[in-house]
């Protein structure tokens, strides 16, 4: 069952800027989707529109089957939002701030639950501290606690780990893992590709208000996840010897480097074979290195391709 459905969503701001140019997106229940994109790609506008902070120009958004405009109460009840900016009332204390959010969502008091959330986020000791006295990372934890306080079924994390320390990032990932176990649907935007690689089920790339790609992370990595073996030769070759031809090898750097590309998912890499052939041909090898394409390469090449003039 699709938990979040976005259909033909467009958003034109008052100034005329078109932040979303027809976005279609369907997110399954219990799925973790990572949205990657450069600054100004439309990530935050997309999240804000789903959460009710931005009015859509056209198109439809449904959360749990409820239209976010017409049936906003039912839709928003399901959503927890961790905003990108650290928006906290500076003079409010941690526990009352979290309690406030739960009340705002119409949920009855549940102090045991709030204690559990604060403990998991290492905030329990700070519950009576004013938020202005907290460090940046701690403030972000408070935002996460607020979003979790009303037990959402869909959690939006808008760049949750931007500028936070390693410890919080690890805690965050642990919480995401735990929520996944409970069947919570999670949508996170991030600049950090390793974050998407580490925790997402599916990866979307958004740029210029359009979704450029939306694919299962593993399939995406294996489809595009080619690996290169670069063999640096002692003396440069003008052409490949006959024994090495027709095997997809390439010569680079004026014949000094032999490049062998292979699929990481395949049974045989062909490396042992290649090395044996080089030896029997009497070609001396100075050095070898390997290089694997990452989501980052995929992402950079996609965004670069889109930005080329048509």
């Amino acid at each position: 069952m699709a938990m979040v459905e976005v259909e033909g969503l467009r958003k034109v701001y008052d100034g005329g800027f078109e932040a979303l140019k027809g976005v279609d997106l369907s997110i399954e229940k219990g799925e973790i989707l990572a949205l990657l994109g450069p600054n100004g790609a439309g990530k935050t506008t997309l999240i804000s529109t789903i959460c009710g902070l931005v009015q859509p120009t056209s198109g439809a958004v449904r959360v749990g089957g409820h239209d976010v405009v017409r049936d906003y109460r039912a839709a928003r009840s399901l959503i927890g939002l961790v905003p990108q900016e650290i928006n906290l009332e500076p003079f409010s204390k941690v526990l009352p701030a979290v309690r406030f959010t739960r009340g705002l969502f119409g949920k009855p008091r549940n102090e045991a639950l709030l204690e559990d959330i604060l403990r998991r986020l290492s905030l329990w000791d700070k519950r009576d501290t004013q938020t202005r006295a907290l460090s940046g990372g701690m403030k972000r934890r408070v935002l996460i606690a607020k979003a979790l306080s009303h037990e959402p079924e869909v959690l939006f994390l808008d760049e949750p780990t931007a500028g936070v320390d390693v410890e919080l990032r690890r805690d965050m990932w642990a919480i995401v893992e735990e929520l996944r176990g409970r069947g919570t649907t999670i949508i996170l935007t991030t600049h950090y590709i390793e974050e998407a690689e580490a925790i997402a089920d599916r990866v979307g790339v958004i740029n210029g208000g359009r979704i450029l790609l939306l694919e299962d992370k593993k399939r995406l990595l294996s489809r595009l996840g080619r690996k290169e073996l670069r063999v640096e030769l002692d003396t440069s070759l003008a052409t490949l010897p006959p024994a090495l031809q027709n095997r997809g090898l390439a010569l680079e750097d004026g014949g000094r480097v032999l490049v062998h590309t292979y699929d990481t998912a395949a049974d045989r890499s062909g490396i042992a074979h290649l090395m044996a052939d080089l030896r029997s041909e009497g070609i001396a090898v100075r050095d070898v290195s390997t290089r694997q394409s990452t989501l980052e390469d995929i992402f950079v090449s996609m965004v670069a391709k889109q930005e080329e003039p048509a």
């Binding site: 902070l53 109460r73 959503i79 928006n87």
Partner: protein, 253 residues
């Protein structure tokens, strides 16, 4: 109706109020006391009576209105402007609460605060003069309606304001003159005939007149007109807020 949501906003706002109890309560008490010393004792001793009421007593309803109106506006405008300023406005906007519920929470809290302050000022006044309230129910009704309607006005100002300067501008340039020229310290009949007519365009005149009627049974304008004026004012504020929320003006992009 998300009653828990309304309560959450109301309770949160009241907590903020009690956190700043000193400046919330002490400053109106001090300024009221000063008014009594200056106008009641120093100047008032030279004014015998205004329409059969001692001057010290005559200015009480006006003083209460003065504080209640300005407190309602500043409480409510700050209450909604501050979340806009800090960015925490995202919470009520993305929560399952309707605009009406947001208004009830914020305006309800602001009106409650001003009601508290009105009561404190009345209590302070009772220390200086012999208090008499002829129509207590009407007095309370006027007080509550004034708190609510001017909190609504303050809420609109807070939504409109783009910075702290604008937040102060309207109360300073428009509201304070209207209150001072609304007959807080004098009876309209004491003015020259031309100014008596001009004054009738000041909505605050009707409030103070009605409120004073509840105390002493005398008024500058008929009591029915006063009630009509405050009802119309409340209605206009509600309509403006409804339009603002419908269009998302200054709230939703």
């Amino acid at each position: 109706m998300n009653l828990r949501g309304i309560w959450a906003i109301y309770h949160y706002e009241m907590t903020r109020f009690f956190r700043t109890l000193l400046q919330s309560f002490i400053s109106p008490v001090i300024s009221t006391s000063l008014y009594f010393v200056v106008f009641g004792a120093a100047i008032g001793s030279r004014i015998q009576e205004v329409e059969g009421v001692s001057y010290g007593a005559f200015i009480v309803p006006g003083l209460v209105m003065l504080s209640v109106i300005s407190q309602s506006i500043s409480n409510a405008s700050f209450a909604i402007y501050f979340p806009k300023f800090t960015g925490t406005i995202y919470e009520p906007l993305s929560a399952p609460v309707s605009f009406l519920e947001i208004v009830i929470g914020f305006v309800g809290a602001a009106a409650t605060k001003s009601l508290f302050i009105g009561a404190v000022i009345l209590a302070t006044a009772a220390l200086f003069i012999d208090m008499q309230v002829m129509h207590p129910a009407a007095m309370l009704a006027f007080l509550v309606l004034t708190c609510i309607s001017f909190s609504l006005l303050g809420f609109i100002l807070g939504l409109w304001a783009g910075n702290f300067e604008q937040l102060q501008l309207v109360p300073l340039l428009i509201v304070t003159p209207l209150i001072f020229l609304g007959g807080s310290f004098y009876s309209i009949s004491m003015l020259p005939p031309l100014w008596q007519t001009i004054t009738l365009f000041n909505p605050v005149v009707y409030l103070i007149s009605g409120f004073r009627w509840a105390f002493f049974g005398m008024a500058d304008v008929p009591i029915g007109l006063s009630l009509l004026a405050i009802a119309a004012f409340t209605g206009i504020c509600l309509a403006v807020i409804w339009i603002i929320f419908r269009t998302g003006w200054r709230i939703r992009a």
